[in-house]
Symmetry: C2
């Protein structure tokens, strides 16, 4: 007996085909002499309807077990469906119940549950329509990302998670240690005796793989990271996670123009891929979660992104007929309200702002000839604000050394990063994409905790 | 001017094509009236030979800059090569030197360097032939893994890196904390005041994503993890890393047979993919690193893996005409020498040993009816020993609870894992592949530190 996934049956199954499906019961409806169950195996949002006739052996005792959540194996024959809502259904010839789900205690009954409640049962929530759709789309985004870069000859590089370098200064870090926290060993002068720690020095969870990706780009020209990154920032919001995935391509022999071209093509590719591979899930989000997600996707795919400098953006914001909460002034960073004004009201499409003041950007961004701005770029999208941040990197050794010192960093700790400029330096550029923000953007899910299987947030590291 | 990668030019470039390449000088040879440089851009092991005639403007000053490691952009025309070793070469019409590399200080001169030395310059070693080949093959393995699972409808799931559960008992754990190690806060009774820590409880770096992958398999049927895992084990060997990547598929409605079938198809797929996409790199490993790697790859691809039970394996080992260092006796774990005997001498191909004694395996493996063995399987490969370990999982709630207690674990901490058996439980199975061991296996690289870009080992977390 051929075992088939439900997505594939719904797409191409034909009447009279004999087959077997395995999945979980979503609902049961009983009628006189027969019953319907909806079976889902996670391969699609839609369920396969199974018709069970009362002449099935053990009809009554089996039916009793077929409650929401029960795991079943059904063998039968496909028949054209007379009911509406489905083209085809499965006429059961035998049913095996692998595991029951007691309707008195199983938390996922038919009624709709709040996302807040579902977060407390993170081990079960993926069995709902919403989270099924979220994690299928999340997987599609991942697949699209790898496809995009692999087709272009980029190598996926695994940059370290545990790092001794905290020099990016990107906020608070998690410490990693093998020391016994109850009894931290001390040296004679009461300092921590790191000689007893696993790495013999303080180590942290990485906040970005960029600097190491630059190492790899100086050998392979085009590389990307796609891995977990961490912030110990105590932000209990719908947009922050302590553990999140990030994608960071890095290209040698590439300037900011090339960087923007790649980032724009990249975003368009992901949206196209998701619309093509998860049309049903995307319809679901549009109907149930946020009725602008399909229009947003089309907007991203079909528009050339607007490019303007930070200085031009400030001028536009100063002229804008809008009352902003935060001040607009050359030298200050753009706030979310400013970014959204540009993308949603002014241009009504994604906007790439370039050449930010050096003072508000990282030390590694390439200094422009005006000595005031750097070759940074942020992509601001309607509805979500900043989705990608990137820059051309400072490839000139003497300028980089100057910038390192100006930002109070220690050039000795960055010896290897400076070596990249000492030996065979090239113009290069890259960007970073927060993966969960992207999934939020695509699906319209309001809370970032609902687009990652097991969110890590202040006071919470469940499962 | 069209910019092209060197791999592609070497494959399909034709005489008279005008193009531009960007890369780094590997070697320079000067002759009377002209010079050759070999340029590499990381896209392939082979370099593109560039011919520079003395009538190029600024011939002498440019030539002085073209030392090993210098970054160049060369525009020119392809010509058929008269020399041997290459089909085609590039006749330079203009050369831009982006970054020089001082031959007096640049550590990567023409001579061969030991891998030990190259580890000390991890920021530069990817620019050598060996590490170039290693990281291209590593990327190909990654791409093959995603391709294999995506084509079969598996979802890539991101299981958490930071975890509060240490219940697998898989060795020593790294602690993750936002507390100030110099000044750990205490409660009144001198315990650590975890209420001040980020997650308000002790947290660790994950040793495996399996338990969380099971959660996801109970919603999507087929999933896989591919992410970093950690062991704070103080093993300073050529086979251990504190941070390594692991691949862990998990399949609902799957028994050990299905698990073995998938694992065998999976390994074969990866080897085939690497041979097809990196033939030149694989030839290099076979010539320079280990002259058995191509034969090993063919062995994996072309043989049906031998399957036998642990009990049968013990009987074979007891009869073997070999003096083992470690004792062979039913109930003891197989040592590396035993595994290698089976794969290399007895069967001369990969071997899958199943049904190990319950006492030496993890609590979640399915107990056989004999109550002494579990449905575990290890794949043992010639040359490397265990490469994959997997099992059918215990899906019966009451048996699992018994096994949890028998192994001294706390069922309360595993409440969510037990819930998976309480609600809609199904037969399911999965396996784990240590990614770096796989890359070692394929490339023949002797030390695991040389197959990951930035190895983390006792006393070492550089770059």
């Amino acid at each position: 007996m051929v075992n088939r996934r439900i997505a594939e049956i719904l797409r191409s199954g034909q009447p009279d085909e004999s087959l077997q499906v395995q999945g979980w019961v979503r609902t049961k409806r009983e009628s006189k002499g027969f019953a319907f169950i909806e079976v889902n195996d996670g391969s699609s949002l839609a369920n396969l309807q199974v018709v069970i006739n009362q002449d099935l052996p053990d009809y009554e005792p089996i039916l009793k077990k077929l409650n929401t959540g029960a795991a079943v194996e059904v063998r039968g024959v496909l028949v054209a469906s007379l009911g509406k809502g489905q083209r085809i259904e499965l006429k059961a010839e035998s049913i095996t119940v692998h595991g029951e789900a007691d309707p008195d205690t199983y938390p996922l009954q038919k009624k709709r549950h709040s996302f807040e409640f579902l977060r407390t049962i993170g081990h079960l929530r993926s069995r709902t329509n919403s989270f099924g759709a979220v994690f299928r789309v999340r997987n599609a985004c991942s697949a699209a990302i790898h496809q995009f870069f692999q087709e272009r000859g980029f190598l996926w590089v695994h940059t370290p998670i545990i790092t001794a370098s905290d020099c990016e200064g990107a906020g608070e870090l998690f410490s990693v240690t093998s020391l016994d926290l109850k009894n931290i060993p001390r040296t004679e002068n009461q300092a921590i005796d790191y000689s007893q720690d696993f790495f013999a020095k303080p180590t942290y969870l990485t906040v970005s793989g960029q600097l190491e990706a630059e190492i790899m780009a100086m050998a392979f020209s085009n590389v990307y990271t796609f891995g977990p990154t961490f912030r110990a920032e105590n932000s209990n919001t719908s947009r922050h996670l302590a553990e999140f995935w990030m994608v960071e391509p890095e290209m040698a022999f590439c300037d900011l123009e090339g960087d923007m071209d790649l980032a724009e093509a990249f975003l368009k590719h992901i949206f196209k891929y998701v619309l093509e591979t998860c049309p049903e899930d995307m319809e679901f989000f549009n109907e149930r979660i946020d009725n602008t997600v399909l229009a947003t996707a089309e907007n991203i795919i079909n528009n050339e992104f607007q490019r303007l400098t930070y200085t031009e953006a400030i001028a536009l914001l100063e002229k804008a007929d809008v009352k902003f909460e935060y001040p607009v002034s050359w030298g200050l960073d753009l706030q979310s309200e400013h970014e959204r004004y540009l993308a949603e009201q002014k241009f009504k499409k994604p906007v790439i702002v370039t050449d930010y003041p050096a003072k508000i950007k990282a030390f590694y961004m390439r200094l422009n000839d005006d000595e005031k701005t750097v070759r940074a770029m942020d992509i601001l999208a309607p509805k979500i604000g900043e989705i990608i941040g990137g820059s051309q990197r400072e490839e000139r050794l003497e300028v980089l050394e100057r910038r390192v010192l100006a930002q109070g960093l220690n050039p000795e700790e960055l010896w290897w990063y400076l070596d990249l400029r000492r030996y065979g330096t090239v113009p290069h550029a890259g960007f970073g994409l927060g993966f969960e923000r992207l999934v939020q953007f695509i699906t319209g899910m309001a809370n970032i905790r609902d687009v990652i299987p097991f969110p890590r947030t202040p006071q919470s590291a469940e499962f």
